[in-house]
Amino acid sequence: MTPAKNILNYSYYPGCSLHASAKEYDESTRGLFKALKIGLHEVPDWLCCGATPAHNVDELLSLSLCAKNLELSNKVDGDLAVACAACFSRLKVTQHRLAENEEKRQQVAYALDAPLALDKPVKHLLEILATDFGLDRLAAAVQKPLSGLKVACYYGCLLTRPPDVPELDDCEAPSIMERVIGATGAETVSWSHRMECCGANFTLSRPGVVLKLSGEVLASAKRAGADCVMVACPLCHGNLDIRQREIEEATGNRYGMPVFYMTQLLALAAGVATGKLGFGSMMVSPEPLLKAKNLL
C-alpha cells in the first residue's frame, strides 16, 4: 500500500546527544511528530557523526563517519530528519564537500569499502516544520496556544552557517525559528545575540570562555525582555542551561532563564502530555514560568 501523498514520512538521525544529555530533545521530537502525525523512523545502527572533535583532528574520519550514516539512512524511507544542529551541520558539510571533491570522494569510498550513497536530502526539523509540514498546518495543530510567552530564539553559530552549506535560511538575518514558534501564538523578542557563538567547543577545555560568551547570550535575551530561550542544538543547551548557575556565579547576574528545546515548546503547544517533554531534566526549572503563563 502506498502512503497517501499528504502523509509525511522521515528517516530520523538523532545523534549521540539525543540519546544521552539531550534526551528531552529526542523525547519531545518524537512526541511532537506523533502529535502532528508525521512519520519518524530511526536509522538502524547509526553511529556518531564525529560532531565537533572529529573534523578538527582528521577530516577523512569526520567525512567517513557522516558518509556512513548517510548510507545507512537509505535503509529507511523518507528524507533524513536531523534535530541536533551539529549533526545537521556535519551531514550537510559532508554532502557539500564530497559533491565538489572527486579525490575526497574516492578516499571516503575506500575507507567505507562500499559505494557511496550521499544523495538523501538532509533536513533540519525546523525546515520540515516550516516548509514540508507548513506553518498553517502547524498553527492549526495547536491545542494549547503559547500566547503571552516571550521567547528568545537562539540560532547559535551552526544552524545557518557557513552561508552556502545549511541552506536553511538567510545566513545573517534568519527568521525560521521565529516563524515556527510564532505559529503557536508565542511572542518572539528581537535581540542582539541570536547568532552569537555560545562557546560550544570550549566547554571542557576553556570553561572561562564559555561563561563569558554564553553569559552575554543570556544577558542579551534578558535585556530584550524574554521569558525563556529556545534552542535547536544540544551544545547550546548545555552551555546555556547546565552552566547557567555557574554563569550567574561568575558574572553576579541572576537570570533564571529556562532554556527549551524548540520541540519541547512546540509539543507543549500541540497538546503532548507534559510528562513526556522532559521538563524534569532541565537544570533551570521551567515550572514557575509555565505555571505563571497558565501553560502547566
Binding site: D170, E172, A173, S192, H193, E196, S220, R223
Partner: protein, 665 residues
C-alpha cells in the same frame, strides 16, 4: 591591383620571439601581386613609417599590408603614413600577427606558418579594397550635459564660457548634487556650499546655458554632431516665469512632516518645497505624492497665498526637444544602501550592521547633514534617536566596498578621506568626544591627502583600529561594535553612542537605462565605460558622448572637476570644426537587388537604416528599399550578415573580400 607592399614588424621581440618574421616576409614575397616585402624591428616608429613611405615611392606600391599588432592599436598610424605617401589610406590594412598569433602560440614553426597565412589572407583582401573617401557630417555646436552636480556644472560652465550653447538637464528640482549636501570638504576643510553655490548661480545666470531642472532624458537619437534629445520636464506645478521665490507657499503648506530626502530624512519639509534654501533655481515644486490637494482635492492653500499666482495644479509634463552636437554624461553616484537587501539587487546587504533597524547607525552622507551648518541640526552633532550629543563615535570603513563576497569588489576611493574629515569635524564640535575608526587600509594618495589623514590621528586623536567589524548591536542606549584589531591580534568591543558607516559608492539608480538610451556601455556595477582606461578616459566608445565625474567610477571633488573640464575641452575640440570627418567604413545598399524587407533595420544597433522610396520620372512609386544613413552607421556589418538577398555590404568588408580571404587559406 598588382603592386602590394608587405611590411612585417618585429614589435621589439613581441612578435619575432615566436614568429620567424624574415621567413614571413620571404614567403609572402612569392605571392602573386606582392611587389615588395621587408621586416623591421618597430614598424610604428618614425624610421619604420619612413621605410613604408620610401618603399611606396620606390616600388610604386598601390596597396599596403602591415603585419604587426591589432588594428585597434596602430591602424590609424599606418593609414596616415600611407596617406602621406600618396596612397588612399583605405588601401592600407593590418594583418594581426601579434594578438592573434605570437602572443597566443609557443611553437615557432606553427606560429610562423600561421602568420604567413594571416598575411596572405590580408594580401588577398587588400587586392579588392576600394579607395574610400571620408564622410563629412555637419556639427551642431550645442552641448547637452546630463546631471547638475559639480561635474555637470563645471562642464556646462566651461563649454558655455567658450561661447557655445549648453543644455543642462538635472533630475532633481535643484542643481548642486551631492556636493551641495556636504558640510566641509577635504583636504582643506572649506565649506562645500561656499564654493558650490556661487557656481550654481553662475549656471542659472549664464546666457549660454539653458537649464532644465526636475527633468529627465526621455530619448536620444542621432549621432556625433547631430543628436536629437527629448527631455521630459516633469510638472513642477509652479510656473517658473511667475514665481518670485518668496517662500510663502512653503511656510503656509499644512503638510509639514514629509521626510526631507536632501537631509537624508533627518528633517522634514512641506509638500511644496525647494530641497534646500540655497537651491537653484529657487522655484518650489509640489511633491504630488504627498500633497493633500493632489490626494484629496481639498486644500489649495499654496495657490491661495501665492501673490503672483504661480501655483498651477493643472500643469503637465512637458517634452522639450533639443538638437545638440555632443553629450556629456555626469549623473554621479549614490551610496550603497546596506539595509535589507533590495529586491532584484545582486548585492547582499549587511543585516548584521543593523542599518535601518538601529536608529543611531547612519551612513556617511547622513553624518555630513548632521555636521552641516545648513543641515537639520544647524551643524550640531546629535544622535538621530534622542538628539543627545554623542561622546563616542565609531566610524566603519569599507562597508560594502572591497567585499567580493557581498558583490562589490572595487574600492570606493573617497571614504578614507571623508572619514578622516568626519573625525575632525566631530572633534571640532565635540571636544571631549572620542572618534574610533575601523579600517582595512588607509588609501590617501591625493595632493595633501596623507597629511590630512595624519592630522586626524595626530591632532584630533582619532583612534584607528585596523580590522573589520563583525556585528553591531543595541545595548541600552549604546551601540556595541564588535570587531577585531589585527595589529594587536585581539577582539575589540566598543560601546558607541553613534556609528557612521562609510558605505560603498555606486552609480546612480537608473544609470543602466540612461546608458541604453544613449547607446553607451557600462561595466557590471553600472559605472559607465570610457573608450580607453588610460588614453581616452573621458570619451565613450560611442562618438560624441563624454563622461564626467563619479558616473564613471568613484571620484572625489578634485578628480571630478578635472575630468569635467577635460570633457568640456573635448566638446570644444569637436565644436572647433564646422564639419566632422567620419570613417567611410559604412554599409551600402544595392538598390537594384534590395527587396525592401527591412530585416536590416530590425537588427541595426545604431538605428542607421531608413526606408527609401524609389520613384519613376513621373513620381510613381516603384519600390521601397533600405537606405543606410552613413552618418549614423557604425560599420558593424550586422545588416550584411542578416540581408536575405545579399544586397547590403560593408565597405572594406564585402563578401567578395571575405571569400578571397578564405580562399587564400
Amino acid at each position: 591591383m598588382s603592386r602590394i607592399g608587405v611590411f612585417v614588424c618585429h614589435c621589439g621581440e613581441n612578435i619575432s620571439r615566436t614568429v620567424d618574421v624574415e621567413k614571413v616576409a620571404a614567403e609572402v614575397g612569392r605571392l602573386f601581386g606582392v611587389a615588395y616585402t621587408c621586416d623591421y624591428k618597430y614598424m610604428c616608429s618614425d624610421p619604420g613609417q619612413n621605410l613604408l613611405k620610401k618603399a611606396v615611392a620606390e616600388h610604386k606600391l598601390e596597396g599596403i599590408v602591415v603585419a604587426a599588432c591589432s588594428p585597434r592599436m596602430h591602424e590609424k598610424t599606418f593609414r596616415n603614413a600611407a596617406k602621406a605617401a600618396g596612397v588612399n589610406p583605405f588601401l592600407c590594412e593590418m594583418a594581426n600577427i601579434r594578438e592573434h598569433c605570437s602572443w597566443v602560440h609557443e611553437d615557432r614553426d606553427e606560429a610562423t606558418a600561421k602568420a604567413i597565412d594571416i598575411v596572405g589572407m590580408m594580401v588577398e583582401r587588400v587586392k579588392r579594397n576600394k579607395k574610400l573617401q571620408p564622410i563629412t557630417v555637419p556639427v551642431t555646436k550645442k552641448a547637452l550635459v546630463i546631471g547638475g552636480g559639480i561635474a555637470g556644472i563645471q562642464t556646462a560652465l566651461d563649454i558655455a564660457d567658450s561661447g557655445h550653447q549648453v543644455v543642462l538637464v538635472e533630475r532633481e528640482p535643484s542643481i548642486g548634487g551631492h556636493m551641495a549636501q556636504l558640510s566641509e570638504t577635504f583636504p582643506t576643510l572649506d565649506c562645500s556650499q561656499c564654493i558650490m553655490t556661487p557656481k550654481m548661480v553662475d549656471v542659472v545666470n549664464h546666457p549660454n546655458i539653458t537649464l532644465h531642472t526636475y527633468a529627465e532624458i526621455e530619448a536620444v537619437d542621432g549621432y556625433i554632431g547631430n543628436f536629437q534629445v527629448k527631455v521630459r520636464k516633469k510638472a513642477r506645478s509652479v510656473d517658473m516665469a511667475k514665481c518670485t521665490g518668496c517662500g510663502i507657499c512653503m511656510a503656509k503648506c499644512p503638510q509639514k512632516k514629509i521626510p526631507n530626502s536632501f537631509d537624508k530624512n533627518l528633517g522634514f519639509r512641506p509638500a511644496i518645497y525647494v530641497p534646500f534654501p540655497q537651491a537653484v533655481p529657487n522655484t518650489p515644486v509640489i511633491d504630488r505624492e504627498n500633497c493633500t490637494y493632489f490626494k484629496t482635492g481639498k486644500c489649495g492653500v499654496c495657490q491661495k497665498v501665492c501673490g503672483p499666482g504661480a501655483v498651477d495644479y493643472t500643469q503637465e509634463d512637458e517634452i522639450v526637444v533639443e538638437q545638440v552636437g555632443a553629450v556629456v554624461v555626469a549623473t554621479g553616484f549614490q551610496l550603497y544602501d546596506i539595509g535589507p537587501k533590495p529586491a532584484g539587487s545582486p548585492i547582499e546587504g549587511y543585516g548584521e550592521f543593523g542599518y535601518g533597524t538601529i536608529p543611531d547607525v547612519i551612513d556617511g552622507l547622513t553624518f555630513e547633514r548632521l555636521a552641516s551648518a545648513s543641515g537639520p541640526t544647524g551643524g550640531k552633532i546629535q544622535r538621530p534617536s534622542d538628539g543627545t550629543e554623542p561622546k563616542s563615535v565609531v566610524f566603519v570603513q569599507c562597508v560594502g566596498s572591497r567585499a567580493r563576497e557581498k558583490g562589490i569588489s572595487y574600492c570606493s576611493k573617497i571614504c578614507c578621506m571623508y572619514t578622516a574629515k568626519h573625525t575632525m569635524l566631530y572633534k571640532h564640535k565635540v571636544h571631549d568626544g572620542q572618534a574610533y575608526v575601523f579600517f582595512m587600509d588607509a588609501r590617501t594618495p591625493g595632493k595633501g591627502y596623507d597629511e590630512f589623514w595624519r592630522r586626524s590621528i595626530e591632532e584630533e586623536e582619532a583612534v584607528y583600529i585596523r580590522g573589520m567589524v563583525s556585528r553591531l548591536y543595541q545595548k541600552g542606549d549604546k551601540i556595541v561594535v564588535m570587531g577585531s584589531d589585527v595589529h594587536v591580534g585581539v577582539q575589540v568591543e566598543i560601546e558607541a553612542d553613534l556609528v557612521v558607516l562609510a558605505t560603498a559608492v555606486q552609480p546612480r539608480e537608473g544609470a543602466d537605462t540612461l546608458a541604453q538610451k544613449l547607446g553607451i556601455s557600462y561595466d557590471k556595477y553600472h559605472f559607465y565605460s570610457e573608450a580607453h582606461a588610460k588614453l581616452r578616459p573621458v570619451e565613450c566608445a560611442t562618438a560624441g558622448i563624454y563622461l564626467a565625474g563619479a558616473c564613471q567610477g568613484p571620484k572625489d571633488i578634485p578628480d571630478t572637476v578635472a575630468q569635467a573640464s577635460a570633457a568640456a575641452a573635448k566638446v570644444m575640440t569637436l565644436f572647433s570644426r564646422n564639419e566632422l570627418e567620419r570613417e567611410p567604413i559604412v554599409a551600402k545598399v544595392n538598390e537594384r537587388f534590395c527587396v525592401g524587407c527591412l530585416a536590416c533595420r530590425k537588427v541595426c544597433p545604431y538605428g542607421a537604416v531608413e526606408e527609401k522610396e524609389i520613384r519613376d520620372r513621373s513620381g510613381n512609386l516603384i519600390k521601397v528599399v533600405a537606405y543606410v544613413n552613413p552618418g549614423v552607421c557604425g560599420g558593424c556589418g550586422t545588416c550584411q550578415a542578416t540581408c536575405p538577398s545579399k544586397s547590403v555590404e560593408l565597405d572594406g568588408y564585402t563578401d567578395e573580400q571575405i571569400m578571397a580571404m578564405i580562399e587564400a587559406l
